[in-house]
Subunit: 465 residues, 2 copies
């Protein structure tokens, strides 16, 4: 295990060179690597090359690996087979930036702006996940430049399709089991409890994401000449999707809750003790009435209960003014957040039954499944989680909260299934970071302490036998 | 009243010069005068100028009159104050042509193509309403060129905003009462019963068209981090609009049917006797199950019962692939077809109550009203309708059907209120003309007989004392 003096030198180096770390992050943020837009494929490749070059320049054995989609970057630091082997996973792709007109600054022209917590970095991907990936890379760099070298064996695995459900990562894991073999997995793509309180995320919801298109007449019809006789697919789609929840906020898909278990009482008590202020959480986004299941406390609704949300809907005339048509079809993107033991395939099957039971005789429905990933519960009594707790305790002077997360990182499940490894989820985002929204940002303070926490963690991991 | 010989000469002239009539129609169809697209304003002005020049070249006193929107064309033929004065109304604007990829031929490059009834004219506006306007103009031309001149006093009134609800026509009528004063009004914007059976439309449904936007959070949210706590406006909108109809197809807006009267029994019998084949009507558009009120016969549902149709809906992410957001807002365009005695304002008020009763506490809703026009029932026992029946009987060798129409021509109501005149609705479209849809067409046979019918009608009108 490295000496306290060496760790201090590494941390001091991080402090001194923070502006260089920010500059490197900006270079990555300028690349609009939106994985869902086919015309951004070259930008995804560009982000992968940038990361590969950066890792190679730091002395890691780095390469860009082609997949059926956007490439994967793998980089390795080997130090003679001594000490634990850490697999760090992150993603360089980002969500679409639209609607662009709601950004104060252009999403791919990162800058430091003032906020209540000091400077913040504003750009698409600032926190999700480029900023969090760069923290780990900067921690490696500090050990390299100010310490006696990276103190553990590290494999960095960076993909470019997380925001579209990682369709090609599991095949990559299967094909590269030996290359990726490790003792633990570290991921930085989650949030802190608040800006002063670090957190390790031990629960993640799963995701079942589907697009459905309801088709009726063979063409758009004049709503006067046909209204009262012809099926209107938009009417029909709203009627079906409008029945997704009952008046108490329970999802009405058949068998939806069959596999949902109640939380252990001690977990309920721990979360209750956090004193989560849902009013403040909602007020920050202009709301005040909690949605979701009426009879559940807020952190359960956010972390431990499944949901159904329509992420997009479209059909008929959506331009300016009036057009009097009965549209030929209507579509929606619909996703379910899942909790442990719910099976995405069973949820899709339930949805299909739900729709079929409500489908007018003349309508046809087509489905396209984008993501089906189960939820995750990470064991906390491991040396790896203990190392992360220690690193965060030292950096922040307080115990990290062991929290849940309403979001999904489907790859955590794939890593468990293919490589047999649980992931330590140590992240530095905040609730207000506008992840997936216009004006995404990352607090400079979080970025800075995040680099330091990763550096400390590397030291602690070196001490795990 | 003109002699039979003169009428024959006029009809022969029409037959001989049909190809020139088609060429003139094509010139008008080439102008993409889409009234709802702001960037087509110049094209609307261009169509108005073309019509003004054409009417002036025929010897009418024609001018283009500016309005707050697209201009109105007025042209007059005076013949010394003898005989009835006819006001012909039509519109030169057209619906948007989108989706363009569904057109077999470009919408603004008209051409004659082969169909089961011989040649047909394919273009946006072919039948609605440029083709039907040109029929009347060509009838005037034939009287001018082959007869002793136009046999009655005529005022031609052509507007450019019918497809967006005629917002500026009523002020124009009010400001020009004297200029437009007449004994009867003639409109060609409706359909025949079938290609061999002419029709006069005596009922038109009204239209109440509104756009509503439901707003929730101040920005798009990550559906994982906020799902289960934050209101989803798309979920809420589908829930509200999905409740518009009950299981029997009845509209659930409060007081919606309060002012709807039952048809007189003889009207029910007449319509039943028409033997309308709803299966064929629906099969032509790929459907087979009638929508609308379950307990009503088809022609009542189409002509004499009110409806509620969502004409467009949008919200959230609608691009390729998956984006896991809870959108900040969702919108829909919603319109009601109305029947006589329903008040559009009362319908809007009912809709607002309907939405308010279902609106989640945190949601706000904004409305934009595009059209509010009551339904029309035209008296049939007038000399003007008798003249039209006679003209059609002579041209087609059979009595015209006195029919209803599910569509709306709001201006008919405005003309009644401002000028005190009922309109004779003599149109030559067919159900299959794809009005407002891709591949709009007008049968050449309909265009030809329509010109001849208008020419005959002008002769008959000259005989009305």
């Amino acid at each position: 295990m490295p000496s306290g003096k060496e760790v201090s030198a590494v941390l001091g180096h991080i402090d001194l060179h923070l502006s260089s770390s920010v500059e490197r992050l900006f270079a990555l943020l300028r690349i609009p690597s939106v994985s869902s837009h086919p015309d951004r494929a070259a930008n995804c490749a560009q982000a992968a090359s940038w990361l590969c070059d950066t890792l190679a320049a730091m002395g890691l054995a780095a390469r860009v690996c082609a997949t059926a989609g956007h490439p994967v970057v793998v980089a390795q630091h080997r130090c003679g087979g001594i000490g634990p082997r850490v697999l760090f996973y992150g993603h360089y792709d980002v969500q679409p930036a639209e609607p662009l007109e709601l950004w104060t600054y252009p999403p791919f022209e990162p800058r430091l702006i003032d906020g209540p917590h000091g400077k913040r970095i504003t750009a698409r991907g600032a926190v999700d996940d480029k900023g969090q990936v760069l923290m780990f890379l900067e921690a490696l760099r500090a050990w390299k430049e100010a310490g006696s070298g990276i103190p553990v064996e590290v494999t960095v695995l960076l993909e470019g399709e997380e925001e579209v459900g990682s369709p090609n990562l599991e095949p990559f894991l299967r094909a590269n089991r030996d290359l990726l073999s490790a003792d633990t997995v570290l991921i930085s793509d989650t949030a802190m409890w608040d800006i002063d309180t670090p957190a390790i995320t031990t629960r993640l919801r799963g995701l079942a994401y589907v697009q459905l298109t309801l088709k009726g007449p063979t063409r758009d019809l004049h709503s006067g000449l046909f209204g009262g006789s012809a099926l209107n697919p938009v009417n029909a789609l709203t009627c079906i999707l409008g029945a997704l929840h009952d008046a108490n906020g329970r999802v009405q898909v058949p068998a939806f809750y069959d596999d949902v278990r109640e939380l252990p009482p001690e977990q309920v008590r721990e979360w209750d003790a956090l004193g989560f202020d849902e009013q403040a959480f909602l007020n920050a986004i202009g709301l005040s009435d909690p949605a979701g299941e009426r009879d559940r406390p807020p952190l359960q609704r956010l972390w431990a209960r499944p949901t159904a949300d329509i992420n997009g809907i479209w059909g008929g005339y959506t331009g300016p003014g009036a057009k009097t048509i009965i549209p030929a079809e209507a579509s929606a993107k619909l996703s379910f957040r899942l909790v442990p033991d719910q099976d995405p395939e069973a949820i899709f099957a339930g949805l299909k039954r739900f729709v079929a039971e409500r489908l007018p005789g003349d309508a046809r429905v087509e489905y396209e499944v984008f993501t089906g990933a189960p939820a995750i519960a990470v064991p906390t009594d491991t040396p790896w989680v203990r190392a992360a707790r220690a690193a965060l305790m030292e950096e922040y002077g307080r115990s990290p909260v062991m929290m849940g997360c309403g979001g999904s990182i489907p790859i955590v499940d794939a890593i468990k299934r293919v490589l047999g490894l649980d992931s330590v989820l140590m992240g530095f985002g905040l609730d207000g970071d506008q992840v997936h929204s216009p004006n995404e940002k990352f607090e400079l303070r979080c970025f800075h302490h995040g680099i330091r926490s990763h550096a400390r963690l590397l030291g602690h991991l070196a001490g795990v036998a």
